[in-house]
Symmetry: C2
Subunit: 619 residues, 2 copies
């Protein structure tokens, strides 16, 4: 029952409501946190009690299911009775408006993704929801880090509004806990589309739009006690909002320092011992089951009876085709169980544990007074989801979402690609050194190695031999004309250029090629399309537009998957080696927080030294 | 570091503070709940980080201890470094102003009593703190139910203020999460000193003084959907405050209904199966280790790897001599471990689990960013506590509290006994029936049986034969003159009368005797003393004053124990049988929520029928 109905019916009736209450109800939520999607819905307690006692008719009863009880780890028989979107009882004999026969399937609480970026799906929020909800997802903790780096806070507001417009009957089919990105820009070494300093962070975190502070990737800043960084985390603490972490390799004193900033979670550990230390120091460890990174195998053996409540599941970054083929958090459950984690503990990691970590009261369990978010699965090994209820409304069945949304594309996220004058000449690399630093990307990883290669220049441009390509990062937010140039070894591409407007975390244009004119054409195509993936060479010009901030497509998931596969196959035909995703690997070559050598629009960057470096090498 | 210091030093420095912040800091606490003792203390995050990185000097380092890690269940070696009352690191090599050698003892997080009534100790709050803190207690969830039933909200404010005045150096040695009593009066069948209706409950719960809503004993009211009762629970939910439960024997539909009211906890289960059901339905079960009631033996075998996070420890009601002899929550740990629960799980029940249940962020673990509340124990079987730190200050050592408090006795809790004109004639029982209902108290229990006894009246008063005594409940709040009269079988007392002003839950005077004049004298003594325990007979007149609201003594714990023992021994010499505590058993004979036959100032009460009944029986 919604706020206004509640106020009219219940409190006004018994004369207890004060005018001030309306505001308070919005400020203080059932979750105990005054933010996110949990703020405005409140129910009539008397109605719930009457339904629990069978004095009144429930809205829904799900019969014939077996309930996975996250408090005990046991499977139990019982009907689940729902009123006003809330579970009122586990039992039998409930009168109800609607009945659903679960036919012996297992009911689990609605799944919660503890950390994800909608942008990495390349889908709009509404299209992502239509894909994820049929897999049992009822809530996500979403960090619109990429959108905000391009569009500023309006990028987050777009996500908020796009999800808010989704309706399945009276309910939103997916609860979205929106984190305010903490690192905009991710580093001062690149040009992003927006800057969110500490003051802006304080102002935005005060708003109900934001559930918490997104992953704090600037762990060196935290550990160094940088004033702006610390002030952002203090704001989160003061507003009682959770701050997420991102701390690869951070252990020992540095981990202690990072935790002193009140950071609750991490999903970036590199080893079992690091994960063990983070658990011991009180972090919640988010087991990431994404497209590029997967920690299920490393984490599963670390789960014990004493610590299993400290693990959460998340996808972080997962592409649409992977979501379509393998699923969402249901896929993570499947993986954990395959690696030997008990189904109960795996399910806890995607339900109750997440709710505990983020203080989402009334979430993550099938029990009286809990929100009626639940999924029916065939078994506890494959976790094939056959039905999903959100606040007691059937929102998906047999893989099909039972909701739709009108397209929503506000001006803030359209036409975001603004580049200066770029010609073939822009990609000339004039070197007067005998050797140069080149980036070598480890296959199937995001880490690059620095290799020193001999180079020869002719006519003011380097000659590309021995598997060398040029890499360019073209600033695309303010048409500043900034272009960073570098060399990449053994990517395999020849006879043209490819480029993409997704480039973590500032999302400038990243272009790889062995032909200056083709590289310029790729920039032109991306500019005209408002961002996307583009390919030029061997007589072909192809572009797949990412018309939402240059990051995501307004097309359907199927179209996105098809077009991505098509243009990737074209790039593969131009020689891109196996072990690299032609475009998505590019998207990480401009990310100056992952070792070792990266390129931004401002120049070549040595991540280990955390400073710019030269392309040419003298000695 | 306190609010003002923080504002001056940190935010003012980097220019980020807004005037509105000062208010926000008080409203939103580090615990995520905007209430209780967690509201006003905030620290300088930069300082903590610098100390964690050993760039700055810590306030305290505890060396040479072994740390019980509640996240992993393991014992680990390491120094605990503290700055501004917060743990900044586990490690080694920290520079510090003060060092403490733990000498190989085990460090556990400060213990938290999840549910207790200070009044049952008969000690003032400050005297209770001096007794409990040396046993490792760093926080309590206290429900001043008895005081508020006598004095109204001023009774709770007294507790709040008395605890607030305690200081060990800069810190409060005990955090007190004060619950607003939910049942004042406990039932409409008796006269209490105050009434807290739904509107008053809403107003009071809005205040920071109150952490949550105290145990909802009126479970029939909840289950029936009584408007006033439901409105109280709705207020708790809306303010994001936890509501505690009290639901003996409530299972099935009734339990579901009770939970729909948002109640989080229970400590009143009667059987293992009931406890199992409550855990499965999502309640936190508080294992009570008190003076009269102890559920450790029943609960211990129910604890599993999957459910141990759902148990909490509490004392509920424990008398001063028991606290002095056996300890507080350390005693509960000892009992749980003796019954086979692993030390790690037992400690979790008194630390991390409580913090999770009540959303006390930063409590219940020894880890960076957690408040430095901890205790050193000799081992994990006896849990003998040798040192206790509160916010990093040593507040107790070798059983001695390192803090004191000036006596605080505001007018609100003094001179609270107001009785009308009472003479020997007031205790005459005129019966014209051949038989009467008498109460028989089961030895070592609070439950009474109804027995039908033959009676004979002479001169307008019943003749006491066959082990009968008279019981009177004399209204003492408003001098209304209300007196309820009944018969008690086989209590053993003869030749006088005894009486007490502690009488759950309305705390009228309860007087038992076989001599009308002696009963009147007992009332006179209690009136003159402002409440207490009194005894008259065989030439003796004795009274032990309970000068704080007629419930507690302003004397020291030792004096309270000694005087209680002395007057109880005198009563025993008047024949009170073993199996009854002469005075404390009386204190429960006026409690109309425990089966089966009870007496209030308004008359004899049939708890099973939940209505008054007659003393005389016709047939």
């Amino acid at each position: 029952m919604y706020l206004d109905t509640f106020l009219n019916k219940s409190h006004a009736e018994n004369g207890l409501v004060q005018p001030v209450f309306a505001e308070k109800l919005i400020l203080y939520s059932v979750s105990g946190l005054r933010c996110g999607p949990f703020s405005v819905i409140i129910w009539d307690m008397k109605q719930l009690i009457d339904c629990a006692m069978k004095r009144a008719e429930c809205d829904l009863v799900i019969r014939g299911g077996r309930i996975l009880n996250v408090f005990t780890g046991e499977l139990e028989e019982g009907d689940v009775a729902v009123k006003d979107g809330v579970i009122v009882g586990i039992g039998s004999g409930y009168p109800a408006k609607t009945e659903y026969d679960a036919g012996g399937k297992i009911l689990i609480p609605g799944l919660i993704d503890a950390h994800m970026h909608v942008e990495s799906t390349m889908l709009t929020p509404e299209e992502f929801a239509r894909l994820a909800v049929p897999h049992g997802t009822c809530a996500i903790v979403a960090d619109p880090h990429e959108l905000v780096n391009v569009c500023g806070v309006e990028g987050a507001e777009y996500v908020h509004e796009a999800f808010s417009r989704l309706r399945a009957g009276d309910v939103s089919p997916l609860d979205v806990c929106l984190q305010l990105p903490s690192c905009v820009p991710a580093t001062p070494f690149e040009t992003s589309g927006a800057v969110l300093d500490a003051r802006a962070t304080q102002e935005e975190l005060a708003k109900d739009t934001f559930f918490g502070l997104g992953e704090m990737m600037n762990y060196p800043g935290v550990i160094a006690g940088d004033a702006q960084t610390v002030a952002k985390l203090e704001a989160a603490q003061k507003f009682g909002k959770v701050a997420d972490g991102h701390a690869p390799g951070v252990v020992g004193d540095a981990l202690n320092a990072y935790l002193c900033a009140g950071i609750a979670t991490d999903h970036e550990s590199l080893s079992a011992s690091e994960i063990g230390e983070k658990i011991a120091r009180g972090m919640y460890v988010q087991i990431r089951c994404g497209s590029s990174a997967n920690n299920a195998a490393v984490c599963a053996p670390l789960v014990t009876a004493e610590n299993f409540r400290r693990f959460l599941l998340c996808m972080d970054d997962k592409h649409a085709p992977d979501l379509m083929e393998h699923g969402h958090i249901d896929d993570a459950l499947r993986q954990l169980v395959a690696f030997g984690v008990s189904p109960h503990r795996a399910v806890c990691m995607a339900t109750k544990n997440v709710a505990e970590c983020y203080a989402m009261r009334g979430r993550g369990a099938i029990a009286p007074s809990y929100v009626a978010d639940l999924a029916a699965v065939d078994d506890l090994t494959d976790f094939h989801v056959s039905a999903v209820w959100k606040r007691g409304t059937l929102v998906a069945e047999n893989g099909e979402a039972k909701f739709a949304a009108a397209p929503y594309l506000p001006a803030a996220v359209r036409n975001t690609v603004h580049v200066g004058e770029v010609t073939a000449e822009s990609f000339r690399i004039a070197l007067d050194c005998p050797r140069a630093r080149a980036m070598y990307v480890r296959p199937n990883e995001l880490v690059t190695e620095q290799v020193i290669v001999p180079v020869e220049s002719r006519g003011g441009d380097v000659v590309l031999t021995d598997g060398l390509c040029k890499l360019a990062v073209v600033e695309r937010h303010f048409a500043s004309g900034n272009i960073g140039l570098a060399l990449v070894k053994d990517y395999g591409l020849h006879g043209g250029a490819i480029g993409i407007s997704v480039a973590h975390d500032s999302h400038n244009l990243v272009v790889l090629g062995d032909d200056n004119a083709a590289m310029a054409s790729v920039v032109r195509l991306l500019k005209e399309a408002g961002g996307g993936m583009a390919l030029v060479g061997k007589g072909i010009e192809e572009v797949f537009p990412l018309d939402v901030a240059g990051l995501m497509s307004s097309a359907s998931a199927g179209q996105v998957a098809g077009k991505t596969a098509h243009i990737s196959a074209l790039a593969r035909r131009m020689g891109v080696k196996e072990g690299y995703d032609p475009f998505m690997t590019l998207a990480f070559l401009a990310l100056p927080v992952i070792p070792h050598l990266k390129l931004t629009d401002k120049g070549l960057f040595d991540v280990d030294a955390f400073s710019y470096t030269s392309l040419g090498v003298e000695e």
